[in-house]
């Protein structure tokens, strides 16, 4: 296991890991530490820092600190759910396409092509316009945006691994496809597939926060970092904390995950670069 944590010894791994830990702790424990009810007014709107409200009050007079402490859970939780869902679906599709190499493959891959030819945020907005604003729509939508790229990477890795001797030996022994995939293929594609997990999680956070910011995701009076920025940005001159602190929290979280992902990828011997998903020669 010490090998898996080797990345923590690099500067970017240590810094990134520290940042992520901090933000996640704030998000997880924040609700218990918050001095006030995040949805109830505690004073005059848009006052600056005071001993009563360290980060001042927002446009409705609610305590900014309490809202920040309560505002991380939702975005991290939804992003995690969407990313996990995307991996489950994407890996299933990619394994079937790559391993069977049957007619399923071209059909699936062309579908994936169409999905990739469509701007992700636009896809989500159209979905919301049609199905309404709800958390389920948001999570399914974000998973649907990510799954095609994952399935493509899984498929490529599966195609490559499937020609290896240990997989063919299993096939020649007449073992069932399920057994061969589970024992010989899956363990060997996990590393290249999961290397991008950090990036994908960041992307999920990014896009969910963006939708929340646009007012098309989580609805008021919920406390959510992106929502806080959106609600208070008109009054940024009156209490800058109400915008800049949640913005810093989101920024720290995504930068921290990126740094950590980069360090993990480096320790696995691969440079952490989002691959172009299309190729002219194919």
């Amino acid at each position: 296991m010490s090998d898996a944590l080797r990345f923590l010894r690099t500067p970017s791994g240590a810094i990134g890991g520290g940042i992520v830990l901090f933000v996640v702790l704030v998000a997880a424990l924040g609700p218990y530490l918050a001095p006030h009810d995040p949805t109830a007014p505690v004073g005059i709107p848009l006052t600056g820092s005071s001993s009563h409200a360290w980060l001042g009050t927002d446009f409705l007079g609610r305590d900014v600190l309490s809202r920040v402490l309560n505002g991380g859970r939702s975005v991290i939780g939804y992003a995690a759910a969407a990313t996990v869902l995307a991996y489950l679906v994407g890996m299933a599709i990619g394994l079937i396409a790559g391993y069977t190499r049957s007619m399923v493959d071209p059909v699936l891959m062309r579908t994936v092509d169409v999905m990739l030819a469509f701007p992700p945020l636009l896809f989500l907005l159209v979905l919301i316009a049609g199905a309404g604003t709800s958390i389920t729509v948001l999570i399914i939508g974000v998973a649907a945006i990510q799954a095609p790229a994952i399935s493509r990477i899984v498929r490529t890795a599966t195609l490559e691994v499937s020609t290896r001797g240990y997989v063919e030996a299993g096939i020649a022994r007449g073992e069932r496809a399920f057994a061969v995939v589970g024992r010989e293929v899956l363990p060997n594609i996990l590393a290249p597939v999961l290397v991008d997990a950090g990036l994908r999680f960041t992307y999920s956070i990014l896009i969910i926060a963006s939708v929340n910011f646009l007012g098309l995701g989580l609805q008021p009076p919920n406390s959510d970092w992106a929502l806080m920025i959106s609600e208070n940005r008109t009054y940024i001159q009156l209490n800058a904390f109400s915008v800049l602190v949640p913005a810093a929290m989101i920024g720290l979280l995504t930068i921290g995950i990126n740094l950590t992902g980069d360090a993990i990828a480096r320790s696995l011997g691969r440079s952490y670069v989002p691959r172009t998903t299309r190729s002219v020669t194919s």
Binding site: G165, Y166, E168, G170, I171, A172, R173, G174, R176, R183
Partner: protein, 598 residues
């Protein structure tokens, strides 16, 4: 050719290179190259041969630093020169021919311009186009005047390599460094390139340092041979001397490990694994694998001593050892056809790939049989369809037409549809040992799987048999607890063989099982396979491109050319009196030792 009298064009003295962290990579290398001389720099992977050769160009790979010694090329010192001086030297005084010609040419540049670039780097003005044409003519690419306007992807592998050679000789440097220039090419092309290099030397007097892991490739073309082991030169002399009267036990073992179709004999591998950087033992680095080692060999590093003028050896015991008197056993009993029932019969086999839009089948109308207890070799170049046949037999590729019968009964195309007994009795060993074991499983688990699936043993019974199987392939039982990354290529291939043997097969399909291994390791694996075949009465289908290997291991041979069989017969018949033109060409091009060699 003896060129010792004149001033050498390359002089390397006591060259020491090491990693930045301190481990030596090359230690005290000394050799020289006379004008117009071809020197073969031979060694297994990790011997430091490429590092040494690149230092002639004043180039060290990242992380490697010069610790001492001198390198002179064309009378000029190379080490410690600034980038500008080196650039003037490279291509002009000493040029470079890379290993992989496909990757070594700029894909967006016409080949004529690539040659011109080297010329322009050193010569201003003059008839540049004329020089480029002349360079192409020297490598026999001058016939088509439009050739210089082609892009690399429009050329064959052999043509690409000749372009890189043209780049290396356009400025007429006195010496060129060739880094395994024929390794990726097929036998026929390799032979042509070698002949051309020889001609370049004869006509233009260009000296060459030819780096290779394959002693056979240079044995007939080089004037002198320098053998390296673990970063040191162990033997160095006239090619004929080195091959006929090797003074170092390692050189002798190397020569004996070369499968040569003209001298079929029992091959003997070198025990153990060649040492890597940072693992050098005290004393002579070869001592742990040496058949003649004594206590003092492990204590003192021998020095390079001159035996006769121009011949050097680095061995404490060179004086007392008589290495020529090794017994020469005569390989296999002559392939007299013994009547026995065919175990495997293939008739009218045709195989296609879905992706091939040209419509030509990969294998067309192939029929042959493998008799009980015999070894049949299937020979051909890459793309000839030989591997596809092996895959059809193993149930990994469904034939488009034809039947495969096993023990008199036709069997299904896919393994899943074959009865358990058939799946158990046919086993396959794959080409690349680095990809044939599941890296996520211990060796033990890889071997247990066929025991459980094909022989239906209980877990406890299977566990018990693992040690026995590892012993069969001459590996210590403790290796079972290791993961494949911890094993060398030869060890991995033995594990793959053990995995196949676990099923107690009757027919073993060996698909190029030694082509990814060093020569000395290849000999040891072949030795093992021969022994197994004899002891277990295995039948074998041995797929290979190497005719020397065929002569060593097979009873009969099938020669494939572009998807169909062009010649079949016993090994002695086919190799001695080939009837088909293609077989004749293959035999003529096959690298083999000169007549006088051990």
């Amino acid at each position: 050719m003896s060129a010792v009298a004149v001033e050498p064009v390359v002089r390397v003295e006591n060259l020491c290179l090491g990693l930045q962290s301190g481990e030596p990579v090359v230690d005290g290398v000394t050799f020289s190259v006379g004008p117009g001389e071809i020197v073969g720099l031979v060694g297994e992977s990790g011997s430091g041969k490429t590092t040494t050769a690149l230092s002639l160009l004043g180039y060290t790979r990242r992380g490697i630093v010069v610790r001492g010694g001198t390198v002179e090329v064309g009378g000029e010192s190379v080490l410690g020169r600034d980038r500008r001086a080196l650039r003037g030297l490279r291509g002009n005084t000493v040029s470079y021919v890379p290993q992989d010609p496909g990757g070594a040419l700029n894909p967006s540049m016409r080949v004529g311009d690539a040659i011109l670039d080297v010329l322009r780097a050193h010569r201003r003005g003059g008839a540049a186009a004329e020089s480029v044409r002349a360079a192409l003519e020297r490598v026999e690419l001058g016939r088509d005047p439009r050739f210089a306007g082609r892009y690399p992807h429009q050329l064959s592998g052999g043509q690409q390599q000749r372009v890189t050679i043209a780049m290396a000789c356009v400025c007429d440097p006195p010496v060129a460094v060739l880094d395994e220039p024929t390794t990726g090419l097929d036998v026929l092309t390799q032979d042509r390139i070698l002949a051309e290099l020889r001609r370049l030397r004869d006509e233009d007097g260009m000296a060459m340092v030819y780096v290779t892991h394959d002693l056979a490739v240079v044995s007939q073309r080089a004037d002198r041979i320098t053998v390296m082991y673990a970063g040191r030169v162990v033997e160095n002399g006239q090619a004929s001397d080195v091959l006929e009267r090797p003074r170092h036990p390692y050189t002798r073992a190397l020569v004996e490990a070369i499968p040569d179709f003209r001298k079929p004999r029992a091959l003997r591998g070198i025990t153990g694994v060649s040492v890597g950087v940072g693992e050098w033992p005290n004393g002579c680095a070869f001592a742990p694998r040496c058949a003649y080692e004594q206590t003092r060999c492990h204590e003192t590093v021998p020095v390079l001593e001159e035996t006769v003028p121009g011949h050097h050896v680095r061995c404490l015991r060179w004086m007392e050892l008589d290495l020529q008197a090794g017994e020469r056993s005569n390989g296999r009993a002559a392939g007299v056809a013994v009547e026995s029932a065919p175990l495997l019969e293939v008739s009218g086999l045709e195989a296609r790939y879905r992706s091939s839009r040209s419509g030509a089948p990969a294998v067309a109308d192939v029929s042959f049989a493998v008799e009980q207890g015999r070894c049949v070799a299937l020979v051909g170049e890459s793309g000839s369809g030989k591997t596809t046949i092996g895959r059809c037999i193993a149930g990994l590729h469904v034939p488009a037409a034809g039947t495969i019968s096993f023990d008199g009964v036709p069997i299904a195309g896919t393994a899943r549809r074959r009865p358990l007994e058939v799946r158990r009795r046919i086993q396959i060993v794959f080409q690349n040992p680095f990809e044939s074991l599941n890296p996520r499983q211990r060796v033990r688990s890889s071997i247990i799987r066929p025991l459980r699936v094909l022989r239906r043993l209980s877990r406890a019974e299977a566990e018990r048999e693992v040690g026995e199987l590892l012993e069969r392939v001459k590996l210590p039982a403790r290796l079972g607890e290791r993961f494949p990354v911890e094993l060398s290529g030869g060890e991995r291939q033995r594990v793959a063989i053990a995995r196949a043997l676990a099923a107690r097969p009757d027919l073993l399909v060996c698909d190029e099982v030694t082509s990814a291994l060093d020569v000395s390791v290849q000999a040891a694996v072949l030795e093992l396979l021969q022994e197994l075949q004899r002891d277990l009465r295995l039948s074998m289908l041995f797929i290979t491109h190497n005719l020397g290997v065929v002569a060593c291991i097979a009873d009969s041979v099938l020669v494939m050319d572009r998807g169909s069989l062009c010649e079949t017969g016993t090994v002695s018949e086919v190799l001695a009196q080939p009837s088909h033109d293609y077989t004749r060409r293959l035999l003529a091009a096959a690298p083999c030792l000169p007549d006088g060699a051990l």
